[in-house]
């Protein structure tokens, strides 16, 4: 067709405004009469609130929970048996449960003045012992985060598949593996503006969110309002990664205050709030034992996994999202016969953890891939070879794995083979035989994973949560001049959907993507959607846009055929025209006929016109399985513990790529975040539950100097279940790097016996392990 549809690497439509600084983010917006809020946050991780007092002169500007009449706590319900529900009041009531929890809201004309007032508010809090370590929090006698619970577990789970102890296995390796707590750190933090629209009698909440409809659901519940009274709009959003996939307590407060004051109210999260009080994620801990034959064939895996879920389950759902998934996804793309996994979603006195790009998979991949290397070490085999023999084979596809996951298609060993070839496996093994000129040690590491994405109703209904994805809809409208408006209910905050969904429309209707507007992120302007999460947009929303364009194509062809004096089955649509054997009529002419010259329409024209909504769900909605192998070549300085990534290769299979350039961008971005998990990012806490990284000087994000030029190789196994064979790939880049890099470091140091199993592998952690190994060797 036009070369701009599915498969074309056209430039991003949104870049024109974004790269010129002409986007419109919450921080750019200002309403007449607007006031700004600052929050007074808990200085302690756990305590009983005795009083919140403001000086008399500021009394009207300061609000505590009891002032917020009509506002209830946020309830993220979950129907999984045994799950304990936490209620989070938008401003803490009775008790504070993590340092940084909002306790009072202050408003003034500017944020600086609001902060001045906030500094005069005094909190009288009786400090209680804090749960700062999730495994300690599970011990009897640990202080209870929620007084009415019997213990600190949101949920415990057990998956047991033909597990028996397998003591006779030739290889038995045990490891403790963990990923530290992180923050998501999108360039834009959260922010929102609440405005009461007097004419529409509606609360308008402009907010940096990934899921406007879900935010509206939660707001209506919490504020006790009808949904018709609320409009939620996401303007340009500067990255989300999961942090913006939730109803934030601050959003509830701002909404309430906007209505209470009948004035626009703005809140912009600053970086300190973001780090300390908010976007926490990732903290997993595993005890693992792998059983294998002496030639490295995996027989079974036994695991106990803890996830530190923080103090509350966030709306729509967070607390056991990771822990419960760990049980089912830990086996990854490996084929083995026995499995047992006990999981704990632990409630602690830390900010709630939220699903961050890769959701659970990054920790799981780290655990599993480190075990593959541990097995290889025990067997005396190359880790690449052990991976190869244990990965699911292409001839087993479609494959149901040990936990019942249905893998759609793919050739996993081939991704590994290609990654090994691209990085130069044999050359590196040769190089490792002699010392490096600069004295550093080089190592090669691999990590193979699968990314179940776009999972739908059949996966989620069992969770009993307020967000079960069903059919996805899109609305299309051919305008009187033949250009196209596409409305979708999700939100694009870096995924390039304004481009890729226009490409989908182009694929079906032939309209130039430049002539397609993708309108998203607004409850008033689009069909309902659970939003952008779970690598679902290309599959679900892409499918919905195709479905609506196909229906529109039928109507357009019907009118076009009439204008061409033939029947609809003798025309086809392409490049913005309806064509017959003998002639063509443009979409512009067809639109003009419908809107401006209806006298020329066929007598049996569909009266519903050139605007419609259509929906979509894949034939099989258990999810697409994209996958990749990452290979990392690193150099380790054993006198400093510093690691340099010398080369980094990704070979991925995302099925049919709607825009390969956009996919590469997703992989680069995700990989950069994965490098952060591997080597840099960590939010440490002290024993009082105080977060210790409160600025970007303490919370180290990789920058341009730390992220190598990632080399990407593509494979293409179309999904048999989706509209174009596309698969979800948005999160994958962030899943594999910690494991690939850790394995590379361990490969570099294998002669010294150093084996790193905690992320991030900071120079200090690595150097102390090197020194411990030296001491050991000297004995």
């Amino acid at each position: 067709m036009s070369g701009k549809g599915v498969g074309a690497s056209i430039r991003r439509k949104e870049d024109d405004r974004l790269l010129r600084g002409r986007g419109r983010f919450i921080g750019d917006m200002r309403f007449t009469g607007q006031v700004e809020v600052a929050f007074v946050r808990s200085p302690v991780a756990h305590g009983r609130i005795r009083s919140v007092t403001a000086p008399e002169e500021f009394r009207d500007h300061v609000f505590a929970m009891e002032d917020m009449t009509g506002c209830d706590g946020i309830l993220a319900k979950c129907g999984i048996p045994g799950f304990k529900i936490s209620k989070q009041f938008p401003l803490a009531k009775d008790k504070v449960r993590f340092a940084g929890e909002p306790v009072a809201m202050v408003y003034a004309a500017t944020r600086a003045e609001a902060e001045d007032i906030a500094a005069t508010v005094s909190l009288d809090i009786e400090e209680l012992p804090a749960n700062y370590d999730m495994r300690e929090a599970m011990k009897p006698g640990a202080p209870l985060v929620h007084d009415e619970w019997p213990d600190n577990a949101f949920l415990e789970g057990l998956v047991d598949k033909n597990f028996d102890a397998m003591e006779e296995a030739a290889i038995k390796v045990s490891r403790t593996v963990s990923t530290s707590r992180q923050c998501m750190a999108p360039i834009e933090g959260k922010g929102c503006i609440g405005v009461w629209d007097r004419q529409l009698e509606q609360l308008h909440l402009w907010t940096a969110t990934q899921m406007p409809h879900i935010v509206r659901n939660g707001l209506a519940d919490t504020l006790g309002m009808d949904q018709r009274q609320i409009r939620v709009v996401a303007p340009d959003v500067g990255g989300g990664f999961g942090w913006k996939g939730m109803l934030q307590p601050e959003e509830v407060c701002v909404s309430w205050l906007a209505m209470h004051l009948d004035r626009p109210v703005k809140y912009l999260e600053d970086r300190r709030e973001h780090l300390v009080a908010a976007s926490n994620c990732r903290e997993h801990h595993y005890e693992l034992t792998a059983y294998a034959t002496e030639d490295g064939r995996l027989l079974g895996l036994d695991a106990v996994a803890h996830v530190d879920s923080g103090a509350y389950s966030v709306y729509p759902f967070s607390a056991c999202l990771e822990a419960a998934q760990v049980g089912s996804i830990l086996p990854g793309p490996y084929d083995f016969g026995a499995y047992r996994c006990k999981t704990y979603a632990v409630c602690t006195n830390k900010a709630p953890i939220l699903p961050y790009r890769g959701v659970a998979r990054t920790g799981v991949c780290f655990a599993m891939e480190l075990m593959i290397d541990a097995v290889a070490r025990a067997a005396g085999l190359d880790p690449m070879e052990v991976r190869r023999i244990n990965l699911v084979k292409p001839e087993q596809m479609p494959f149901r794995n040990i936990t019942g996951k249905d893998f759609d298609m793919g050739d996993y060993p081939e991704s590994l083979r290609r990654a090994a070839e691209m990085i130069g496996h044999d050359r590196i093994r040769e190089r490792q035989k002699s010392a490096e000129a600069d004295g550093r040690k080089v190592g090669l590491g691999y990590s193979t994973y699968c990314e179940q994405g776009a999972h739908g109703t059949s996966v989620y209904h069992g969770w009993g949560i307020p967000m079960v994805p069903g059919f996805e809809q899109s609305q299309v409208r051919l305008t009187p001049d033949g250009t196209l408006e596409v409305r979708v209910g999700n939100q694009s905050h870096g995924q390039s959907l304004e481009t890729t969904l226009a490409q989908v429309a182009n694929e079906v209707l032939g309209v130039d993507p430049e002539k397609v507007n993708v309108i998203h992120g607004d409850t008033a302007m689009s069909p309902y959607s659970t939003g952008t999460w779970g690598s679902r947009s290309a599959v679900m929303v892409g499918g919905a846009v195709a479905a609506s364009c196909e229906k529109l194509a039928e109507r357009v062809k019907h009118i076009g055929a009439h204008l061409l004096q033939t029947s609809p089955d003798h025309v086809r649509i392409g490049e913005g025209e309806v064509r017959s054997e003998t002639g063509a009529v443009t979409l512009k002419e067809i639109a003009a006929t419908w809107y401006l010259a209806p006298q020329h329409l066929p007598g049996d024209v569909n009266p519903d016109g050139l605007e419609l909504t259509a929906g979509y769900r894949p034939k099989v909605d258990t999810g697409t399985f994209s996958y990749a192998t990452h290979a990392a070549l690193v150099a380790v300085d054993t006198d400093t513990g510093f690691v340099e990534i010398l080369d980094y290769v990704v070979v991925e299979d995302g099925g049919v790529l709607i825009n390969p350039m956009v996919v590469d961008g997703q992989i680069y971005g995700g990989t950069a975040q994965g490098i952060g998990t591997a080597l840099y990012e960590e939010m440490p806490f002290d024993k009082n539950g105080q977060p210790l990284a409160s600025t970007l000087a303490d919370y180290i994000l990789p920058g341009a100097g730390e992220v190598p030029a990632v080399r990407v190789g593509h494979m293409e196994t179309p999904s048999p279940n989706t509209r174009f064979g596309q698969k979800g790939i948005g999160e994958g880049g962030a899943i594999a790097p910690p494991a690939a890099i850790a394995n590379a470091i361990n490969d570099a140091l294998k002669e010294s016996g150093v084996e790193m199993t905690v992320s991030p592998i900071t120079p200090h952690r690595l150097l102390s392990a090197i020194m411990a190994a030296e001491t050991e060797a000297a004995r």
Binding site: T110, E115, Y680, A704
Partner: protein, 264 residues
């Protein structure tokens, strides 16, 4: 967070600045690259900020036969770009180019950096190794003091009330002199975890080694380095053996770069 309320004085000359700084809760400011974040985090809440960068004398650079005198408000970027003479054959430009990010270097100043007295900052350690001196103006006139010892502790410069750094004197190095500079940063532009600067002039026989980024102020070793490890053992490198090793590695590598014949 946003800064609290303060008044801002754009001082026109050193006398005005010194006078204003003697009022209660007054604070000097140059590039704002350290003070700015502290204001925004409300760790510093001065009532009056006295900006020094408009004082012409503080941006001047003067070259004499045996030294270059840098006005305190000369930016890292001006030194990096070679817009001012380099007293040590490129060593200053090299140090400057490794400070933070370009945006910070565009505004951050050599005087501000010394006055801020962060043990992990580049200038206090590098200028200690280069044998530099600061010129300080105050209520009792102008005095000179070696950079070695000027940082008395973390964020504690040897500055009295109302005193400002007006210039930094860096002795010119001979053509044969060599400079070794090693720092280990978690990422490009981040403050160093360990840092060492070494200076060796075969003509004069002067050798200096400065070790920074410890919890203590930059530490200076001079004289005979035949047994480097023994010299390093005399330094206060903190209680953590891992950090100690990092500091020693930086020191050895800096010395190896500046000299020949001393093993790294």
């Amino acid at each position: 967070m946003k800064a609290g309320r303060f008044d801002l004085l754009l001082a026109k000359d050193v006398g005005e600045a010194v006078k204003a700084l003697q009022t209660e809760d007054a604070k000097a400011a140059s590039g704002f690259q350290s003070l700015g974040p502290m204001l925004n985090l409300r760790l510093a809440q001065p009532r009056l900020i006295v900006n020094l960068t408009r004082i012409p004398e503080l941006s001047a650079v003067e070259e004499t036969a045996d030294m270059v005198v840098y006005g305190a408000a000369v930016t890292h970027a001006a030194i990096e770009d070679g817009r001012v003479p380099d007293a040590a054959g490129g060593a200053l430009a090299r140090v400057a180019s490794g400070i933070a990010y370009r945006a910070v270097r565009n505004r951050g100043t050599i005087g501000g950096s010394l006055a801020h007295a962060d043990p992990a900052a580049d200038w206090p350690t590098a200028l200690t190794a280069l044998g530099a001196k600061v010129r300080v103006a105050g209520p009792r006139g102008v005095r000179r003091a070696p950079v070695a010892g000027f940082v008395r502790g973390a964020f504690a410069p040897a500055l009295g009330e109302g005193e400002v750094i007006v210039a930094v004197e860096v002795p010119k190095a001979s053509a044969a002199a060599r400079f070794g500079y090693v720092k280990f940063c978690r990422k490009v532009g981040e403050f160093a975890e360990a840092m060492a600067a070494a200076f060796h002039d075969p003509d004069t026989g002067v050798t200096r080694l400065a070790v920074g980024a410890t919890e203590a102020p930059p530490q200076l070793l001079e004289g005979d380095f035949a047994d480097l490890d023994a010299r390093l053992a005399t330094l206060d490198l903190g209680a953590d053996p891992v950090r100690q090793r990092l500091h020693r590695t930086a020191a050895r590598r800096a010395m190896a770069e500046a000299t020949t014949g001393i093993a790294a």
